[in-house]
Amino acid sequence: MNMKARRIRINGFTDIPRLMSKLNVTTLPDFFILSESVNKSMPRAEVIDKMERVLNALEESIVGALSQPNNTESGMVAGGASLLQQFSAAGGSLLGTAFSQVICNAMAVAEHNACMGRIVAAPTAGSCGVIPGALLTVAERHHITHERLLRSLFVAGGIGDIISIRASLSGSTHGCQAENGSASAMTAAAIVALFVDDLSTIESAAAFGLKNLLGLTCDPVGGLVELPCVKRNVVAAANAVACAEMALAGIKTVIPLDEVIDTMAAIGNSIPSTLRETSKGGLAVTETGQRIAATLRDK
């Protein structure tokens, strides 16, 4: 490749159709592969290979997470995914085993993270269960090819990158909406990309995913990535599936994705710092939350 190729500047999703026609690429994964390759001066094959390693680590995180019950010293993570597995295996699933698998795997990976398991921080460690829980489960259930699944991860990463450009992926900057909200948007878009290439369908899924979780604050008990983080991963994964299905059904977002992202930043800026990962407000300062934090400090 030409190492001196000009940098591809992406300021928002609305830039993408124009850039795609200029660069003569026809699908969103190909566009993000090319932009990453040009902007990071990396050969295309290396970009693909790097994502193969990410996919491998995502798959391994599920296997590792389900291999044993995950419990933390604080007691806030107490083998939830194991209970979900047993419940589903005993026929308790409310909506069939596919949905149970989504919520169980999201919870398992998030719990695994809390127990010093090996995970992919995509987009963050606090939201690491969403992509493996929702995207990988949908891909498995629909027998999606490895290549198509791999390509969908570029959509997830590309949407996340746009969010990081216009806003932030950090809970300490914009609250949980920036972590689990972004994860849900990225995952919804990637699920759609497993099935169709249409840009507006992918955009709608991402916009729904983020819109539905706007305003979420970050108020972890004891400053740990456990409560409410773990169960938020479950909700963000379920939300991603619902949003992808809405988009695939042809429902269009009224507010464009870029405007939704800007709204997330605006809301994030008005969230007080007590609710942005400082554990000085919200659930962290409930009577029980403070008691747990005090017990941890004494250890």
């Binding site: 398991g117 921080a121 606090g126 997830a156 740990l224 990535v225 456990e226 941890l296």
Partner: protein, 233 residues
């Protein structure tokens, strides 16, 4: 950022700043110190100190000092590995609002007969301070009392020397004839000891042969080279 900053890092949980960043700080401190670690005191400040227990910050820092990357499951057993390898460590927990919320300071002991020419202060110690600045990214801000700014994205050369005229020219020429370009350079001096430290970010790694030429200069006390960090570290 970039797509792989979003889709990663692959890491041991639970926190990119308090676990992965902590491990990376230990890893970078090991590289900068550049010798087998016999004894080290680790001071964790502020949020690092408050929530170290639940985040495995202490395990991660020690793991990094042992050379474990941020995605190594061995980080969980780092304290036992340190013991098995005979690496002595102790932790100090501090609150200091003048420091970044996630700060770790490393104090390495026992250097060549207790006479530490590297730090220039004769204390027999070597200190490194760094911050975990989010998303697993870190910044080294202090080495032996000299202010630096290093995040692992460049090849680095650090030289401690007797503060006499002509040393900058010597360093520049030595790199220049080998076609190694200097991207950034800062100097710090210790007036009492009449020593100085040059901190250089390079566009290419400083090869061992070049480092040996620098070391051979009678005014040079110490040369440390660090190659930029690859993926997964």
């Amino acid at each position: 950022m970039g797509i792989f900053d979003v889709m990663g890092p692959v890491m041991i949980g639970p926190s990119s700043s308090h676990t992965a960043g902590a491990a990376r700080l230990g890893y970078m401190a090991r590289l900068i110190y550049g010798r087998p670690i016999k004894k080290v005191q680790i001071t964790l400040y502020n949020s690092f100190a408050e929530t170290a227990h639940g985040h495995g910050t202490d395990l991660a820092v020690v793991g990094g000092l042992l050379g474990l990357p941020v995605d190594s499951p061995q980080l969980r057993e780092s304290l036992a590995i340190a013991e098995a390898q005979g690496m002595l460590y102790n932790f100090v927990w501090k609150q200091n609002l003048a420091q970044h919320p996630n700060t770790a300071r490393f104090l390495f002991y026992d250097i060549r007969n207790g006479n530490n020419r590297e730090s220039g202060d004769g204390s027999g110690t070597f200190s490194i301070t760094g911050n975990s600045i989010g998303g697993g990214n870190v910044r080294i801000i202090e080495i032996n009392g000299h202010r630096v700014d290093y995040s692992g994205y460049h090849d680095v050369l650090m030289i401690t020397y007797q503060d006499v005229p002509g040393m900058i020219g010597f360093i520049g020429d030595t790199l220049g004839v080998r076609h190694i370009n200097i991207a950034y350079m800062s100097l710090a001096r210790d007036a009492v000891e009449a020593t100085a430290m040059a901190f250089l970010k390079l566009d290419a790694p400083c090869p061992p042969e070049c480092a040996d030429v620098l070391r051979a200069n009678p005014n040079v006390f110490n040369v440390i080279t660090i190659n930029k960090l690859g993926d997964g570290i």
